[in-house]
Amino acid sequence: MLSLLRGKREPIHDFPGGIHPPENKARSTAAPIRPGPLPHELVLPLNMHVGAPARPVVALDETVLKGQLIAESQGRISAPVHAPTSGRITAIEDRPVQHPSGMTVTCIVLEPDGREAWAELEYRPDWAATDPAALLEQVRHSGLAGLGGAGFPTAVKADPGEDTRIEQLIINAAECEPYITADDRLMRERSPGIIRGIRMLAHLLRPDEILVGIEDNKPEAIQALRSAAEGTDIEIRVVPTRYPSGGEKQLIQLLTGKEVPAGDLPARVGVICQNVATAYGIYRYLEHGEPLLSRITTVTGDAVSHPGNYEVLVGTPVKDLLACAGLDADRLGKLVTGGPMMGFTLPEPAAPVVKTSTCLIASTPEELPEPPPEQPCIRCGACAEVCPANLLPQQLYWYAKNDEFERAQQHNLMDCIECGACAYVCPSHIPLVQYYQYAKGEIRNQEAETAKADRARQRFEARQERIERQKAEKEARRRERREAQRRKQEAAPSGDDGTRSDAAVQASATSAGGGSAASGGSDGSGSGNGDDESRADERARRMKQLKVTYNKANKQWKQAQAAFNKAQRDGADNLDQLSANVDKLRTRADEARAELDALVQEAKTDVEAATGRDLKTLKKEATDAELAARRKAKEVQAAREAGATEQAQSLEREHEQLRQDADDKAAWLKRVMEEQGMKEDE
């Protein structure tokens, strides 16, 4: 019978391993696809696909129409989200989703209004005449993401890059996992649409061959596809039923004999694989303008009275869908999502059906009992025989169990597709896949940590380098300034005001250059000789000392005074002593102050002797020059604003002269004071 169905025998290759678990498909294939419920709220997670989560583009309380964009894709690997029906946005918040951890994810919550009012849709009936690149851009907005369960954004997958030649486009209709019949029913009922979708994909990818891989346990679907594909170049290839023939890499190997390299994508060997429901989604989008709003999900298990396939709006809470299928809550044991082999127990029935939800199994405790306790591995090797990826599951098990992740990686743990065939045949009931998932997660986290550490190292080193560089630059600038000052001093004439003595200039040059003061040459005219120099230094040191002494004494005196005042208020006994203390400190502070004043006076006299003017005059001159320069600057500004360019230019020149003069005078004043061991505040 089967060979009759196959018609001519195409060459079918093989993949290693595989198992034949009980199919349990019959009860959900009996009834045609039924519409799912319209729940009182739809919960739409922003990360229903692989890649960056979508970004909401609607506000709270906004009314949206069916098919309207409510979250746009972010980045290249991402997919948008559309409103599955018309209604009001009631919340954008964290809600539990279908994930084994039971964690929450940001979701858009939509309250349907029941009107089913459509937004304006963009049709693309002329797709066959459209440039593939433009068409691909269109598909990006469809919200389609691998409906077979992986959720990889369809547009990204359909864009292998300019220089990649696609030899085979494979449509995955194998649906090898037990219980699931969503694709089977879809093919039986909507084959023409699927075939049109496949042709659209072929238009995008321009492959040499188009192959549809389907397991031989779906004769009606095969028949339907065959008749729909009549007269096209689409080949329907029937493969024997064996789990996991629907795994992407396994199906590619079955149909083409090509093996996808470890850690690489099928496009590397010239193959693109898309799920059959995804092809149908593309057809709905391009010919009817409908983005991905609903999907066909199998609801089965002994705890529901109407098992079958439901066309469910994306975002429908699982509990609403189960109620629609007639759930008997008393009989419910485990609630499994995604199939018995690769799925997981759903921790939270309020979680929504998403784009990747292929199947829900509401099982009774007898149907899917708790797994028996784990026993020691007896090294029977049954797991290695069934592994479809040609790995050594028991070796990986030992490594994962003992946290030897590096060795596990050497044994290609990352190529494990987590199909569960090894755990299924394990006579010791070892939850092998869970061990691998644990090890993979640890490895991924460690890799993330290493990447972060590398980044931290780079940032740390860059920072160190920057600090060093800034320090060097600062040092270079300082040196340059000193050098420039020295040169200017050497080159400067003995003074436009005629009063600056050569000796003073020379002496200041030496001190500014950081040289020893004693070596400052003097050629006679008087005041700035070496003796003076050392006297000034001595004075500067003494002044500093005195200043410290004075400050200290003054502070102590103030403290003593405060203590004395407090004692007086409190009526303490040792007033005399305190009072004596205050006086003593007061005297000390006064003495220091007096000596300091005397020194400052002496320094001022010396300044006068050296320059022929007293310090006050010098300070006044410097201030006057500065003021003149600033006034001139204002004039320049005014002239510029008035538009008198020539006048401004001549003023500018004057200003420059004045500014130079002022700077010179200020620098000179500073130097003279430094020479005499004074700081500006004295």
Partner: protein, 193 residues
């Protein structure tokens, strides 16, 4: 005569190989110290200074020079184990003097309280704090190594070290309990004797 031939032959060989080795040591000289690089690659790069060195690289150099390899609390036992494997030294328990192994944390600035003093920016060894004088500062969470160095300089104490929360990306299944790891599945045994 035979012995002379043998000696000459050996000497000639020694000269040839000596020259070869000498040439190789010049020509194939390795720049830098590869051991330090390897140690540095194992250290967690928090740059926290808990080991007493100003960063991970200096500590890597110190370890290569013979310092004990158990002074890195952020790395914990795993780092010590890896260093022991690399250096062929014995495993040492973590030196408590330098701190204890803790959960991963990142700095968080309570932004209302930040006065914009830039002190934490200067303290951060990996430039993971952004802000300017008189402006609010904030931590780039992804780049923060959790080194703690910004907490001390903050004059208004507005920096908290918060534990890193698990995300959907970092979550993974736990290791199964193993053989006999599920006491609820034990079969009760009654001793009749």
């Amino acid at each position: 005569m035979t012995i002379l031939t043998a000696i000459i032959a050996l000497l000639a060989l020694a000269a040839v190989f000596g020259a070869l080795l000498g040439y190789a040591s010049e020509k194939l000289k390795v720049e830098g110290d590869p051991v330090v690089d390897q140690i540095d690659a194992i250290l967690p790069q928090t740059q926290c200074g808990q080991c007493g060195h100003p960063g991970c690289r200096p500590y890597a150099e110190a370890i290569a020079a013979g310092e004990e390899h158990n002074k890195c609390p952020p790395g914990g036992e795993q780092t010590i184990q890896e260093l022991s494997d690399l250096l062929g030294r014995d495993f040492l328990p973590l030196d408590e003097e330098h701190g204890e192994e803790d959960v991963k944390r990142v700095a968080y600035i309570r932004e209302d309280e930040c006065i914009g003093c830039t002190k934490c920016i200067q303290a951060c060894p990996v430039d993971a704090i952004i802000g300017a004088a008189q402006k609010m500062h904030t931590v780039i969470e992804d780049e923060c190594t959790g080194c703690d160095l910004c907490v001390e300089p903050c004059p208004v104490d507005c920096i908290d070290m918060v534990p890193v929360e698990e995300t959907l990306e970092s979550w993974h299944r736990e290791r199964p309990p193993g053989v006999g790891g599920r006491p609820e599945t034990y079969i009760p045994v009654e001793n009749l004797a």
